[in-house]
Amino acid sequence: MYKRLYKYKDLFYILIWRELLIRYKQTAIGVLWALIQPLSMMLLFVLVFGIILNIDTGGIPKPLFYFVGLVPWTFFSSSISASIDSFVAHRNLITKIYFPRELLIFSRIMIFLADFTITFILLALLIMIYRIPFSMDMLWAVPLTILLLLFTTSVGMILATINVYYRDVRLASAFLLRLWFFATPVFYSIDTLPIKFKLILFLNPLTYVVENLRRVLLENRGIVGWQFMIETVFVLFLFILSYRLFIRLERSFADVI
């Protein structure tokens, strides 16, 4: 993978730069859009789940509880819906000239990683406003983000690849993401469940990431080492698998796209 991509690293930078250019051309408030979606969702959640349904957040301030879930979720869902089209939308390029096509997906996801970083800074501000004391355990957010990034890239790559062959993926994605949202503890917590159930639920790496971001950022607790190891191996395995699937099918992209 490294050998394959190194030669094209400049193309990667230019693709990122191009995505940014296209995205903010003719917009009035530009980057602020990255903040508006998770912030407004958070307020809505506080109202619906916090005040109307009164779901217990285990003593964590409600805005923080929801926002920590929404930041990774927003990254995941927007990356996925943007990735699915990335091959089909570049049909003109793919059928004319060779380049490592996965860069189309990687560069799109990088844009959302930038959004993620911006919202994460806002999250850090909220944490300070609520006077949650800093602890070294909070630094676990970095490896958790890397897990999230790897997982998102794998899913995006699989779906975008299959979408070249079966456009059903595009049609199914909105519905799939909605299901996935409820399967991820964004507005609830699985913290009180017994460990047996947790391990099954951790098969959804998003569940793992959200639950553990709450642990390290809001509850001043560390991460369970062996759980992290298993999750990392699982996500890495998925990444390698999706990359191999992509390489295998990429050869005939230009024939079918």
């Binding site: 191009r18 250019l21 004319k96 000239i97 060779y98 062959y165």
Partner: protein, 239 residues
């Protein structure tokens, strides 16, 4: 492969399907995906060989003309060299960087301006950001688009797009250039200029592959002409 060869085709065949839907039943596709020995040699209904057992070797610095009626497989051959599509059977070896001038300007992004598209296209052609920066003045000048270079490409005429695409490709440091029916880029003056540039590429020991319907043009530029007919090949030294 010895280093003075630039392109080598070893019994290369390419199968195409005429049907609109490019996948079979989900079940069949899954079976095919996991099957090791695929029976690629037999044709299913509505499949055909666009290229059939093509073999040739092209030394560095030669210029090859590709001639043949519509549907004889010329574009397929160029796309195989460009690594855009892969052969159904056989092996292709390429030595060097390729600049395909196939449907020039098709890869431009309509919302981006000329300069932004130069960076984008240049990088796809394998140029580094530094290379593009150092050449951008020349690329713009050559394309004769200085006045429009900050205009979004969607407002360009098709001729302008062709000129920009041609200019970027010709300034890339590629070793192999593929030209598909684009010897009619722009007006007469620009055509003259592009032909001169192609001659210059030849002098610099670049390998050229030129597709054209114009036999006279081809004889002027190619040292060898490859004639394709229904996916089969015959060599010809033009006289």
């Amino acid at each position: 492969m010895s280093s003075d060869l630039s392109i080598k085709f070893d019994r290369v065949s390419k199968k195409f399907s005429k049907s609109a839907i490019q996948h079979g039943l989900l079940r069949d596709d899954l079976v095919m995906f996991f099957k090791r020995n695929k029976n690629v040699d037999c044709l299913k209904t509505d499949e055909f060989w666009a290229l059939d057992q093509i073999s040739f070797k092209i030394p560095k610095g030669s210029s090859i003309g590709l001639y043949g009626p519509n549907g004889s497989g010329k574009s397929t051959l160029l796309k195989l060299i460009a690594n855009v599509i892969s052969p159904t059977t056989g092996k292709i070896t390429i030595n060097g960087r390729i600049a395909p001038l196939i449907e020039l300007g098709a890869g431009f992004h309509p919302d981006l301006n000329g300069i932004e598209n130069i960076y984008m296209n240049g990088a796809i052609l394998g140029m580094t950001i530094g290379e593009i920066k150092s050449k951008i003045e020349r690329i713009i000048e050559y394309s004769e688009l200085s006045d429009f270079i900050s205009t979004p490409v969607k407002k360009y005429s098709s001729g302008m797009k062709l000129r920009l695409g041609f200019s970027i490709a010709i300034h890339s440091e590629a070793d192999i250039f593929l030209f598909d029916e684009i010897l009619s880029v722009g007006d007469e003056a620009f055509q003259e200029k592009s032909l001169n540039s192609i001659q210059k590429l030849l002098k610099n020991k670049k390998t050229l592959f030129i597709v054209s319907h114009n036999k006279k043009r081809l004889t002027g530029m190619a040292d060898k002409i490859l004639i394709l007919e229904k996916g089969k090949i015959k060599w010809n030294i033009f006289d």
